[in-house]
């Protein structure tokens, strides 16, 4: 990416932050809070997620058979099934059905699949009036905009903006101001369109193979009217919507509303086995409804492939097909909360899972546009009701995009300098951050000179221009004496013979070369709990290259780390990790990079440092050996730590030591590893961080000791609050002096 295109991207993000950010933030955060409340009350949440996942895995596995089964069931019911290869094929069929029905007006209920196909354009080209009856879709149709969210497509619009839009377009007799006014006006207007219409188009949230039914999950009632009022119904659905049986819908109905908007269940779940049996309203307006008219209905199910069969055959993209389009990944995404789907989407789909969808249905170019907005924070992983590893799909697509890149201008310098496994074309910015360990090694070996050079104006300007490292960020200060150097010279202070336990402290690149104090504090905390500590020579976990989509390099790093730690693990030594994003590599991503047995052994033998401290205290270690926090604490856990459910150990240890702890409840601080350093994302990173700043400068928090577990979180908090944040082990360090300035 050139510095011009980075600037263009930054400008667009600033524009969206200004114009759409507030409405998107308010709405997505309301949905997201609703999700937390709704799933907290659901006892069987995990069980439903597991069942939902199994059903989807099995359905996609058996997809060809299920398609045949659906076709037979729908035809047995008196409907017609059309299997469309792509958008053009689907649109051609829909146009034919509409023409056969002699329709002038078509009404639609919300369907992202028809957005994907651009069915409206195809029908309008034939002179058909097409009306979206979902109120959000209707607003967008009137405004001539695209959806910015898969569930609430007009989430970026404010009430005032909609009022203005309706005034311009419809010039209503009465002034429409409140949400109630606007809703009733739209209901009335669309009610007339529904009465005129001859064909109703719906999507399908699910299709059941055993009965040939379609399930529609809605709140407004427009889908019910669209189907009831028209004689011809067309349901358009991706082939991945099929589940084997009606009973299989149960876990999805429990999960979909809660995961999406935080509702227990949406107002309507229609399970229709069309042609539906309701009397038609499409007759004489003054003649009573006749039950016989129910027999004259026509139904067409258009099952759309449009790239889905290829996704099914792609081991990495297949999971995308398990998506039930609930929007939890978008709502839980800190970046999405700030800029919304118009920054975070391709041609149709937006949010975390959009990378998979856009790649599959529109191709890599469409996904490329927003793929880097996924910081890999993993906040969406636990939010997804079907347990899709969305950040992994983003990494895979980023890796494939890297391989298709052609910006090799710096390759000749860079290939010499960096030992990565990547092809020449990869973007310089990505390569710089992906090879962080090499830079850190070099920076440390030449410190303090490297630090002075790094802070020189011309150097920062060059770094910004060539590699997009934002000048407003402070760069890490490298230490000449690394943590490993310090420890080799010092040696352990608790001998193996006297120790209760034996630990291998993992020296991540940042702790080893930059925040050496944090590493020293970790050693002293462990030793205070009578633990024998070792710090082996082991390299970077692969997190840095993985976050840039350099999967081969990450894979090679993972193998080296495992090789260096395997003997320790076999000897029964516990691996203790300070940096949460590295522990998350061992516990999650290594499953994709190492043989199963190696992954499991490292996963089962590795611990986050405060998790380990908690375990020692539970097993009888003396808490008085640790320093008690001298002030109330404001604690921000790292995103990946929370995904793994580990943040509670830190708060519990602090509380057991008598500290008053306030924990941040924002999804992410916004720095997210290298993300916040990149010029194109600086403003977004700070906007995301604003939510944490607000919480930690509130009266309840502003005088507290700021504590954070992640490197980038500490950096970001420093920038947001203008006071330093400490790692929990630094607070507990028995050698720590009273430092009330922190």
């Amino acid at each position: 990416m050139s510095s011009d295109s980075r600037e263009a991207k930054a400008t667009r993000i600033r524009h969206l932050l200004r114009t759409e950010g507030d409405a998107v933030e308010r709405n997505t955060r309301t949905f997201n809070r609703g999700r937390y409340d709704a799933v907290a009350e659901l006892e069987a949440y995990e069980e439903y997620r597991n069942r939902a996942r199994e059903i989807k895995e099995r359905a996609i596995e058996n997809l060809p058979e299920l398609i045949d089964e659906v076709a037979a069931a729908v035809e047995e019911n008196g409907g017609t099934v059309y299997l469309a290869d792509d958008a053009a094929d689907a649109n051609r069929y829909v146009r034919e059905v509409v023409a056969d029905a002699d329709a002038e007006t078509v009404v639609k209920s919300k369907s992202m699949t028809t957005e994907e196909l651009e069915v409206n354009d195809a029908l309008e080209a034939d002179g058909i009036d097409v009306w979206e009856t979902d109120l959000g879709e209707f607003v967008l149709q009137v405004a001539d905009e695209t959806p910015s969210h898969i569930v609430a497509p007009a989430i970026h619009k404010s009430r005032e903006g909609i009022a203005e839009l309706f005034r311009e377009r419809f010039d209503p007799d009465e002034r429409l101001e409140t949400a109630e006014d606007l809703t009733m006006f739209a209901r009335g207007f669309l009610g007339e369109r529904i009465r005129e219409a001859d064909v109703g188009v719906t999507g399908a949230n699910f299709v059941t193979a055993d009965s040939g039914s379609i399930a529609l999950v809605t709140s407004e009632g427009n889908a019910r009217k669209t189907v009831t009022a028209t004689d011809t119904q067309i349901a358009v659905a991706g082939v991945e919507k099929i589940v084997p049986t009606v009973e299989d819908l149960h876990p999805f109905v429990e999960l979909i509303g809660k995961s999406g908007t935080g509702q227990d269940v949406t107002a309507y779940v229609s399970l229709l086995t069309p042609p539906v049996d309701a009397p038609s309203l499409d007759r004489d307006p003054v003649a009573p409804l006749s039950s016989e008219s129910a027999d004259e209905r026509d139904f067409h199910l258009v099952l759309v492939d449009n790239g889905r069969t290829a996704m099914r055959e792609d081991d990495q993209l297949r999971e995308t097909l398990y998506c039930i389009r609930c929007s939890a990944c978008a709502n839980s995404c800190a970046n999405f909360q700030s800029v919304g789907g118009h920054a975070f989407g391709g041609e149709t789909y937006s949010g975390g899972i959009a990378t998979g969808w856009e790649t599959g249905v529109h191709g890599y170019d469409s996904a490329a546009e927003f793929n880097d907005l996924c910081t890999g924070c993993t906040r969406c992983v636990n939010a997804c009701p079907v347990k899709i590893d969305i950040p992994w799909i983003n990494n895979v697509v980023r890796d494939r995009l890297n391989r298709g890149g052609d910006d090799g201008r710096f390759e000749f310098v860079y290939d010499e300098l960096v030992p990565d496994e990547e092809p020449g074309g990869i973007d310089l910015q990505k390569r710089l951050f992906g090879n962080y360990e090499t830079l850190a090694k070099l920076g440390s070996a030449t410190a303090p000179v490297s630090n002075w050079v790094g802070e020189l104006g011309p150097v920062r300007a060059l770094l910004e221009r060539a590699a997009g490292v934002d000048e407003r960020r402070s760069l890490p200060e490298f230490h000449r004496e690394t943590l490993r150097d310090w420890f080799s010279a010092r040696g352990p202070s608790v001998s193996r013979a006297d120790a209760d336990r034996e630990v291998v402290l993992y020296p991540d690149a940042y702790t080893n070369y930059v925040d050496v104090d944090r590493g020293k504090a970790a050693v002293r905390v462990l030793e205070a709990l009578n633990v024998h500590v070792r710090i082996p020579a082991v390299g970077e976990s692969g997190r840095a290259p993985l976050s840039q989509g350099m999967i081969d390099t990450a894979d090679e790093r993972a193998s080296r780390v495992y090789a260096a730690l395997a003997e320790h693990v076999d000897a029964g030594r516990d691996v203790v990790v300070i940096e949460p994003s590295d522990l998350a590599m061992f516990q999650r991503e290594y499953e994709k990079l190492l043989p199963e047995r190696s992954f499991e052994r490292l996963r089962d033998g590795s611990y986050e440092i405060l998790e380990y401290v908690y375990g020692c205290l539970e097993n009888g270690a003396d808490p008085s050996a640790l320093r008690r926090p001298e002030r109330p604490v404001a604690y921000h856990a790292h995103c990946q730590q929370r995904t793994l459910g580990l943040e509670r150990y830190t708060t519990t240890v602090f509380r057991e030591l008598g500290a008053d702890v306030l924990e941040s409840d924002v999804e992410c601080c916004g720095m997210a590893g290298s993300f916040g350093y990149k010029t194109q994302y600086y403003d977004l990173s700070m906007d995301v961080g604003d939510r944490l700043r607000e919480q930690f400068t509130s009266p309840a928090a502003r005088d507290r000791l700021v504590v954070a577990s992640g490197t980038s979180c500490e950096e970001q908090l420093g920038a947001l609050l203008e006071r330093d944040a400490a790692h929990p082990v630094e607070v507990l360090d028995p050698a720590r002096r009273n430092r009330t300035d922190r």
Binding site: N27, N77, L135, G136, V139, A152, A154, K157, S158, R159, I162, A179, E180, L182, T183, A186, R187, L190, G191, D210, S211, S213, S219, E220, G221, R224, K225, T228, T245, V246, E247, L249, H250, V253, T261, D264, V265, T266, A267, Y268, V269, S270, L271, L272, T273, P274, V276, D277, A278, P279, L281, R283, P285, V286, A287, P288, L289, S291, E292, A294
Partner: protein
């Protein structure tokens, strides 16, 4: 046991702003007469000894349907833990009557109040494989698309539930 299920149903209905009347077959007509706001449309009720108040139009035209304030229908069953009612989309017209009127009054036999979604889907499986169309409706229709939560987006603004305890 049955009273537990009805208790659960009642509290779930409260959460979605639906008032529940528990009554006997003999009193249904009187309760409905109190509940309804004219003009009212309805579908004849399939319970022994239970009939609709006279003011209810049971053969509405599409125009009358759209103009109706109250729509009265029986429902196939209810789901206690969510406060949902299962509206059958049958040739007699429960679906249009329940979705077009401003207020939907849903009448259900106590024996058809199922404890949870699991039980509901067992029943829906059999029904759907037999060709039935069913809408699980929970509370009034709603939208938040216009900047605040509004009920009555396209469907009813309010819902009443009437349970016939001796059926």
């Amino acid at each position: 046991m049955e009273s537990d299920v009805l208790g659960t149903f009642e509290s779930a209905l409260q959460r979605v702003d639906v008032r529940l009347e528990r009554t006997t077959a003999a009193n249904v007509r009187g309760i409905l007469a109190e509940v309804l706001e004219p003009p009212a449309v309805g579908v004849p009720l399939p319970f022994d000894g239970v009939s609709l108040p006279e003011a209810v139009e049971t053969e509405p035209t599409p125009d009358e349907l759209e103009a109706a304030t109250t729509g009265i229908t029986a429902v196939e069953f209810a789901v206690a833990d969510y406060g949902s009612v299962a509206i059958r989309s049958s040739p007699t017209g429960e679906e249009p009557v329940s979705v077009y009127a401003d207020v939907h009054a849903a009448v259900v036999a106590a024996s058809d109040v199922l404890p949870d979604m699991e039980a509901a889907f067992e029943r829906l499986g059999t029904d759907a494989r037999g060709g039935a169309d069913t809408v699980l409706a929970t509370g009034p229709s709603a939208t938040a698309d216009m900047g605040a939560l509004v009920t009555g987006a396209h469907g009813p603004k309010a819902v009443h539930a009437v349970v016939i305890e001796d059926r």
